[in-house]
């Protein structure tokens, strides 16, 4: 199943590339609409309590103001079980920054100005925003917390195995609150007319938005259109519609058909569109003399919101990674008066693998075994917990290939002994893994226009990943026509229903759908279809689902320099080698891996939303305060992949590439920083002061 790393053509260029480089690709806020109004939100300035009074007199007097909306005059929404969408339904305040009203005006400026003039009084209640391990706030998540609940796992006797182990690690790692910060802030234009509601919305799935917003307003799904042709990045923050979509649609009820536009400010994004919750993870590993794991324990404590539950489940990364006869994996939540967390690129895995792969490095150091070799020695034959065979698992190939290319064999394992000028130099490795998911229920329409030209429609979305291009390629391949003969339409509820862009499952789910729809089209219309021949179909159930464990894998290598005097950390070089099934378009895929790794560098070195517990909000809530890696922070980043043919995973053989790039990066960098300095920092991000001890 494993070949050499491939040397192929770069793949077709990005289909919407021309529109994007000429500035003509229209993002949500940019859709030309007639006579728009602008919304500015009112937001709670306390972390918990009630609104006791609202005086809108001064605001309503501002020139151009058309509406001041609060819970007093907002219409009742249908309770659909999502507290984020139930905006302005009561006077209760569950977190600082919560949406409690809106001003709608002729210009953005007048709306903002009027919003400042609304006088809001509160009844303040004591709040708790201090993330900590405290029985009063800690509980075990249930099915309400996650649709993919990972219950506690206990196999064998971890404590006994640890007591007998030749080498042990017992370490606690922490990861901070992190915000997605896609470059495009969330934006929506809402307009009601006789036909219903139209939303130009920046999201990861127009159908999901429709399926939630329609019942919220008690209208038929057919009466809600959601349009999202171009999305400026998302990383999970646009997976579920957030309160701003409901608020804007609610405001547009009052504007006699005039569209209402709202783009969040960067600062508002720190409270209204989710974040990766902070975690505190304890990992205990025990190994025999040869470094074979005899016990693996991973307990994660993660923040959630009292307002809306979310379970990150970082510890679950340790369920199926390495062989270990004794194993305990638990995830706990600490509920606080804070905004709702949500999925952020590789939820669970990004933080969980940071802890596990850092602990593996600590084990390698204490056992005196090379960290690449240690991982190879713990490679399981079958999935450790489920006992299922792997659909394909090429972690060893990634590690070996990566070690070879990175020059790993020349590495002196001793920490803190390489110095170049003021800089201590080290290298590190970590493994990465991400489940290969498939979301059912998508449909695609294949239509033969004429003369061998096909139109393919699927309500998928391209959040920058390249799905428009990859799906066009897969459709052309299945139709056996050149890519130029296929016109692909996505990004709207006008196309057939499709699952959301998430879980690295886009190309797997939508690609399989397109390929199966082409098959159905050929069955129905043959190879010489008439003009206008059309078939809508989806992918059936994968017979191998539940029969195989399906994951993509990777190995990340990093060179790190730490300034001996100041503790400043630099990452001049990284290499990632991945095994992720079929790579449909090398040109766009490479960027996905590189982007994931760079976000991993950013996670390792910079990203940290600092919460002021006194007020319950993030203080560095803009891009000057919340640092993401810039061009100058990134050295050479190389990506390659193993040629992997996985016949089980789905009809197109792709395993997903959007998230695995970030998994393991921070651990590789932290491990390299330890190798450079001899200082083991277990708290992200790796800021300078942590290396000065």
């Amino acid at each position: 199943m494993t070949g050499a790393t491939r040397a192929t053509s770069p793949g077709p260029e990005r289909i919407e590339g021309h529109a994007k480089v000429t500035g003509t690709a229209r993002y949500a806020f940019e859709h030309p609409v007639a006579d728009p109004l602008y919304l500015h939100p009112l937001r709670a300035t306390i972390a918990r309590g009630r609104v006791t009074s609202v005086d809108t007199t001064a605001a309503e007097r501002v020139d151009g103001v058309r509406l001041v909306l609060t819970h007093h005059n907002a219409e009742a929404l249908v309770p659909i079980g999502d507290p984020e969408l139930a905006v302005l339904q009561s006077d209760e305040i569950a977190f600082r920054g919560q949406l409690i009203g809106a001003v709608v005006a002729e210009t953005q400026e007048s709306a903002a100005h009027a919003a400042d003039l609304v006088e809001i009084r509160y009844e303040r209640m004591a709040h708790d925003s201090d993330f900590r391990d405290d029985a009063d706030i800690v509980y075990t998540p249930d099915a309400d917390a996650s649709p993919m609940l990972s219950p506690d796992l206990e196999e064998g006797d971890v404590d006994a195995a640890l007591a007998d182990a030749a080498f042990t690690v017992d370490a606690t790692y922490t990861t901070p609150t992190e915000h997605h910060n896609p470059l495009e802030p969330h934006a929506v234009i809402a307009a009601w007319d006789d036909d219903g509601l139209t939303l130009h919305d920046s999201n990861q799935g127009s159908h999901l938005v429709r399926d939630l917003i329609a019942p919220l307003f008690g209208v038929d799904k057919e009466r809600v259109s959601v349009i999202s042709p171009h999305v400026g990045g998302a990383f999970g923050s646009k997976g579920m519609p957030h309160g701003h979509v409901a608020l804007t649609a609610l405001a547009a009820r009052h504007t006699a058909g005039r569209p209402v536009k709202y783009a969040l400010s960067r600062t508002q994004m720190f409270e209204l569109v989710g974040y990766r919750p902070p975690t505190r993870q304890r990992v205990r590993l025990g190994a025999d003399r040869e470094g074979r794991l005899v016990a693996t324990e991973h307990d994660s404590l993660e923040q959630t919101s009292r307002f809306k539950q979310y379970a990150e489940q970082s510890a679950s990364a340790s369920r199926e990674m390495y062989t270990s006869p004794n194993r305990r994996v638990t995830n706990r939540l600490a509920a606080l008066d804070v905004p709702a967390p949500t999925w952020m690129r590789a939820p669970g895995e990004a933080g969980g693998m940071y802890a596990l792969e850092s602990a593996m490095d600590e084990l390698a150091v204490s056992a005196g075994i090379d960290p690449v070799e240690l991982r190879l020695r713990n490679e399981p034959e079958v999935a450790p917990v489920s006992g299922l065979p792997f659909s394909s698992r090429n972690l060893p190939a990634c590690l070996r290939e990566g070690a070879e290319r990175f020059g790993w064999h020349e590495r002196d394992p001793r920490p803190g002994v390489r110095r170049e000028g003021d800089w201590l130099v080290g290298t590190g490795v970590a493994a990465s893994s991400f489940p290969s998911l498939f979301f059912p229920g998508s449909l695609a329409t294949i239509r033969h226009e004429s003369g061998g030209k096909y139109r393919v429609e699927i309500g998928a979305v391209d959040i920058g990943t390249g799905s428009r291009t990859a799906l066009t390629q897969l459709a052309a391949e299945a139709l056996e026509v050149p890519v130029e003969a296929v016109e692909l339409w996505l990004g709207s509820t006008e196309q057939p229903h499709a699952s959301l862009a998430g879980g690295s499952a886009g190309t797997a789910s939508w690609g399989s759908t397109v390929v199966e729809a082409v098959r159905a089209f050929r069955t129905e219309h043959g190879h010489d279809p008439v003009s206008g021949a059309e078939t809508t179909a989806g992918a059936g159930k994968n017979p191998d689902a539940g029969e195989y464990a399906m994951h993509s894998y990777g190995a990340q290598f990093a060179e790190v320099r730490v300034n001996a005097d100041t503790g400043e950390v630099r990452v001049p070089r990284m290499l990632g080698v991945f095994a992720a099934g079929r790579i449909v378009n090398p040109r766009t895929a490479r960027s996905q891996f590189l982007g994931g790794m760079t976000m991993g560098i950013s996670m390792a070195l910079h990203e940290h939303s600092v919460v002021d517990e006194r007020f319950g909000h993030v203080v560095n809530h803009d891009l000057a305060g919340y640092h993401i890696a810039g061009n100058a922070d990134v050295g050479s980043v190389e990506v390659d992949w193993i040629d992997e043919h996985d016949p089980h995973v789905n009809p197109v053989g792709v395993k997903g590439i959007g998230e695995i790039g970030i998994v393991g990066t921070a651990a590789a960098i932290g491990n390299a920083a330890h190798h450079a300095t001899g200082v083991r920092v277990r708290d992200l991000p790796l800021t300078p002061e942590k290396f000065l001890r």
């Binding site: 000429t22 495009e184 061009n631």
Partner: protein
């Protein structure tokens, strides 16, 4: 107030401009030119980079009134009709575009760099693009695109020095 300015070589006028609004808002909401993006409103991300009298600036930090009678160049003005500019073409060829939201600002910054420094080193490229954040691509492809654009423009980009630990 009324604002007169030249954008991409065309004289334009915007009425009822609020004195405190930014050139970026004028371009996007009043002149129908949303190519320049609004992503941070504080000059941190570079997505709104435009030429102001041929100098790259963040349009979000230019007060509308400061652009009176000035010349503005945006991403919409980079191509010569249907013909993409060298930098635009290179961004597509090298796969330097993902979500595309940082792209317009990067293109203006890169266009300016190649105009000033025909054969930029990697260090010069990183420096010139230091004010343009990208959350998707991871910068490698952007570097490649600028190198390619420089080569095609006649220069031969050196790719020797990558940003190492020491910033001496």
């Amino acid at each position: 107030m009324r604002l007169n300015l030249t954008v991409n070589g065309r004289a334009m006028t915007a009425d009822d401009v609020w004195e405190g609004e930014s050139l970026l808002y004028v371009l996007r909401e009043r002149l129908g030119l949303p190519g320049s993006k609004n992503a941070c409103e504080q000059g941190e991300c570079g997505s709104c980079t435009v030429y102001l009298d041929r100098v790259p600036v963040c349009a979000c930090l230019v007060a509308a009134g400061q652009a009176q009678d000035r010349e503005v160049g945006t991403v919409e003005g980079l191509a010569d009709g249907e013909e993409l500019s060298t930098v635009q073409r290179a961004f597509i060829d090298e796969g330097a575009v993902q979500c595309g939201f940082c792209t317009p600002g990067l293109l203006v910054a890169a266009d300016d760099l190649i105009e000033r420094v025909p054969e930029p080193s990697d260090a010069e490229i990183r420096e010139a693009l230091a004010g343009n954040l990208c959350r998707c691509t991871g910068y490698e492809k952007i570097m490649a695109a600028v190198r390619t654009a420089a080569e095609r423009s006649g220069g031969t980009s050196g790719s020797g020095s990558s940003a190492g630990g020491d910033r001496t």
